[in-house]
Amino acid sequence: MSYLSTLYPAYAEIFLLVMVCVILIVDLFLTNPAKTLTYMLVQLTLLGCALITVLTHQPGVVHLFNNMFVDDLMSDVLKLLSYLTVSMVLVYSRHYLIVRGLFTGEFMVLTLFALLGMMVMISASHFLTLYMGLELLSLSLYAMVALQRDSAVSTEAAMKYFILGALASGLLLYGMSMLYGATGTLEVAAVSDAIQHGVQNKALLTFGLVFIVSGLAFKLGVVPFHMWVPDVYHGAPTAVTMLIGTAPKLAAFAFVMRILVEGLQPLMTHWSGMLVILAVLSMAVGNISAIAQTNLKRMLAYSTIAHMGFLLLGVLSGGIDGYGSAMFYAVTYVLMSLGAFGMIMLLSRAGFEADTLDDFKGLNQRSPWLAFMMLLLMFSMAGVPPTVGFYAKFSVLQAVIGAGHIPLAIIAVLFSFIGAFYYLRIVKLMYFDAPESHVPISMQPDSGLLISINGLAVLALGIMPGALMSVCAVAVQQSLLLQ
């Protein structure tokens, strides 16, 4: 058997890398401002990745590259969802970016590099692989935030994102080095074994854990490490905000799973306590600050902070229920925020950003269908059935209560109650107020269709959430039990 054929679990990553290089070169020869060929190539690449991931799927867990890379059901599911998300991001943002002259080859290549970073993170079973994936993702995103060079807000956002991101990476690396000092290895499974067999220097281990959790919290954007989130969400072009706010959350979930659950499971009593504080603070600060926002992108940024807090509740509850519910939460969150950012881009037009709350006034009179889709998305974010957001909250709460943290569950529902107010305000603006602008909404057929699918998916998954829930639970279960 040739060496190449043993690499099959990483075929998707390899294919993507090759294609990115091809696209980079092909794009040099294209002068068409709409970049249709590049765009089609990117979408085909994503389709190809999906096919490869499905075809190379193997039951069980496969390790590769001296245990630095792992392929299991969870990684395959998360990767497939990431392809889908990135593909949706591109469909939503194509017209928006073309109008603004930002639909360049670089944008697409950087998007794909970010995706590659996510894939590496998702499949990492070594702290260094994780770090490498994270940096690939982050560096691509820093550049993308600054894509609109002449916009002061964007540049400022990129600067903030870069400096704080670098700080977080530093914290993470420092934590990893301490972990290495304590256990003598950086392999996820070996770290777990070493801790279980007793570590000489407990203090070093705990310090390392604190740094790692802080670094993770930075990347997830949870309080008190959240300061970059609103500025970056607000400053970046909406298409980039959408990318930052969606697919990387899936990778971040995988990151949490690989480091905290697979690697540092024996220290769960320590890190779950830290996560309680992070989660409660995030839900509090996120939900309360969101009320005060007048810019929808900033509001969604705070809402993300609150949602990430809720997601951490699932993680800290532990067990298949806890991790499964956190994964389900991440997936549904991505679906909802795709729709919400997609709506902003749909309503925007040349020279006009529909990103303040007032731009949504009277949407029901301008376009009842879009208003209805946004209604579904907002109720879903608020966690009102029959939308899928309810089941996300429901399954996390089930895990939290199952783990015996009833006061935590009550705190969580109280903050989601506060959160319901600002989602409700959007519905109020759309349905109860008179429109401020009567400019007809020019919907592109592709993104118009996609937003309908997206909104209806939120409803359909809300009526039939069972399958997706089970997929998440099974994926998490397999990758944990078979390690």
Binding site: F394, I401, G402, F417, A420, F432, M469
Partner: protein
């Protein structure tokens, strides 16, 4: 079974499907078509619930017309429907009111007709779902989904202060519901992994936990009933809602709260229910007496009827928490009667409002001179609201008072005061609005009710009188279930 479908599923989904069809008619160019489809859906929706009554087996407390399918297997959640003697009548009541509200909004609603009609049809299906659900998660989904159309109805078609009222309504009810969700998930864990409501009834729970569960349910249900002191959303919501919204709110949506007490609080936490019954009775009596007095002071007709609703619902919760058959059956009959009567009164106010665009009592006077037919109907419903024997209002109140006498004379005494207060505020309003000299030229120009309005009122008058004179068809259906419930509640679960 209808064409191979289970009856309850048809009752739930038929109005919803028609609601979607109505939405599909699009903007107001097609309003006449939207109205007709809505009416057909509403009438069909009512017709399919009739076999639930005729086919109901009276002498068992078991669930009937049961339908069960797997839904979310991961958490053992089922699509589980069924009715017993307690819930079946509310399904009929809900379906009965849908054609009435569609008809009531026929002419008055001119903007976004399709959305208005669709909201009512969808809400009707969802409310039937609340009464038919036997799985806690299914119940919760319907329970919350009910808020969305009502929120939109108040906010889009409501009065001047509609936004405040709609948001207040939504947040008040959401707050209670979320705590209930925590309680339901706790029960799921306690029952060893089942969300079936009937399984919850048999889970042994320690006293402290029972009290917490009771409190969580209390927040969810008391807000909906609404009980004193969480009633303040109701007058706002009623005043701002369009007529149809007020009717559904008063006739059906308040009942789901009391239904929740009967279906969840009592059987799941019987010991806590007994332990806290003193508090519940006190709150109920405060509602009856104090809110009755508040109603007396109102100058806005809709507000007056809204406060009267809270006062009457106090009777219902009193009847539930005195734990005897008179009280419980009285409470259920009172709920149904209040549905008819308050619904009718809000329609009457709607009729006046459509013509005069004011709800102020002071702007009226001598309406009987210009609208004699309307005045006769209004008088009848007012009498029913004050509990005149021979009308439906009397039956439930009388039974609850009978039940209360058995427990404590003073409960009964205070409760009976409603017969005075109720008569006072209702009849005083009628006197000022209907009788006396014609107040101003607006009243002088009033035209009497149209045929469409006459049909609505005649149907409701028939219901009010029929139930008042011959309540047996309503009460016999609930005997077995009520007795079984009382036996269950008397057993300790500690």
């Amino acid at each position: 079974m209808i064409f191979g479908f289970h009856l309850l599923s048809v009752a739930i989904w038929l109005p919803i499907i028609f609601g979607v069809l109505v939405l599909a008619t699009g903007d107001d160019k097609n309003a006449p078509l939207a109205r007709i489809i809505a009416m057909v859906g509403a009438v069909l929706g009512f017709l399919v619930t009739i076999p639930l009554y005729t086919g109901f087996v009276r002498d068992t407390s078991d669930m009937q017309f049961v339908e069960i399918h797997d839904w979310i297997t991961r958490f053992n959640i089922h699509y589980h429907l069924g009715v017993d003697g307690i819930s079946v009548l509310f399904i009929l009541l809900t379906a009965f009111f849908t054609p009435i509200v569609v008809l009531a909004g026929w002419k008055v609603i001119e903007k976004r007709v399709a959305q208005y009609m669709a909201a009512f049809l969808i809400m009707s299906g969802v409310m039937i779902g609340v009464f038919a659900a036997l799985d806690a998660v299914l119940f919760y989904v319907f329970w919350e989904a009910m808020l969305i159309p009502m929120f939109l109805i108040i906010g889009v078609w409501g009065g001047a202060n509609r936004v405040y009222a709609a948001v207040k309504f939504f947040l008040y009810t959401l707050f209670g519901s979320l705590l209930m969700l925590v309680a339901l998930i706790y029960l799921y864990n306690q029952s060893g992994g089942s969300f079936a409501i009937l399984d919850f009834h048999h889970v042994a729970i320690p006293m402290t936990a029972q009290i917490f569960i009771f409190i969580a349910f209390f927040f969810a249900f008391a807000v909906k009933v609404p009980m004193f002191p969480v009633h303040t959303w109701l007058p706002d919501a009623h005043v701002e809602a369009p007529t149809g919204g007020s009717v559904v709110l008063a006739a059906i949506m308040l009942k789901v709260g009391a239904y929740g007490f009967i279906r969840f609080s009592l059987p799941i936490a019987p010991d806590a229910s007994h332990y806290l019954s003193g508090v519940m009775i006190a709150l109920s009596l405060i509602a009856v007496v104090y809110i009755g007095l508040v109603a007396l002071a109102q100058t806005d007709m809709k507000k007056l009827v809204a406060y009267s609703s809270i006062s009457h619902m106090g009777f219902v919760t009193l009847g539930i928490f005195i734990f005897n058959a008179y009280g419980m059956e009285g409470a259920l009959l009172q709920m149904i009667s209040h549905g008819f009567v308050s619904g009718a009164l809000f329609l009457c106010i709607g009729v006046l409002y459509d013509r005069m665009h004011t709800r102020n009592i002071a702007d009226y006077g001598g309406v009987a001179k210009t609208m004699p037919v309307f005045a006769a109907f209004f008088m009848l419903f007012a009498m029913a609201n004050s509990g005149l024997p021979g009308t439906s209002g009397f039956v439930g109140e009388f039974m609850v008072i009978m039940g209360a006498v058995k427990v404590n004379f003073w409960y009964a005494f205070l409760a009976a005061s409603t017969l005075i207060f109720g008569a006072a505020y209702t009849l005083w309003m009628v006197k000022r609005v209907i009788f006396g000299a014609v107040a101003n030229h607006h009243v002088a120009e009033l035209t009497d009710i149209t045929l469409r309005e006459k049909v609505i009122f005649a149907v409701l008058a028939l219901a009010v009188l029929g139930m008042g004179l011959y309540p047996l068809p309503f009460s016999e259906i609930m005997h077995a279930s009520v007795n079984d419930l009382l036996v269950h509640v008397a057993r300790s679960k500690l």
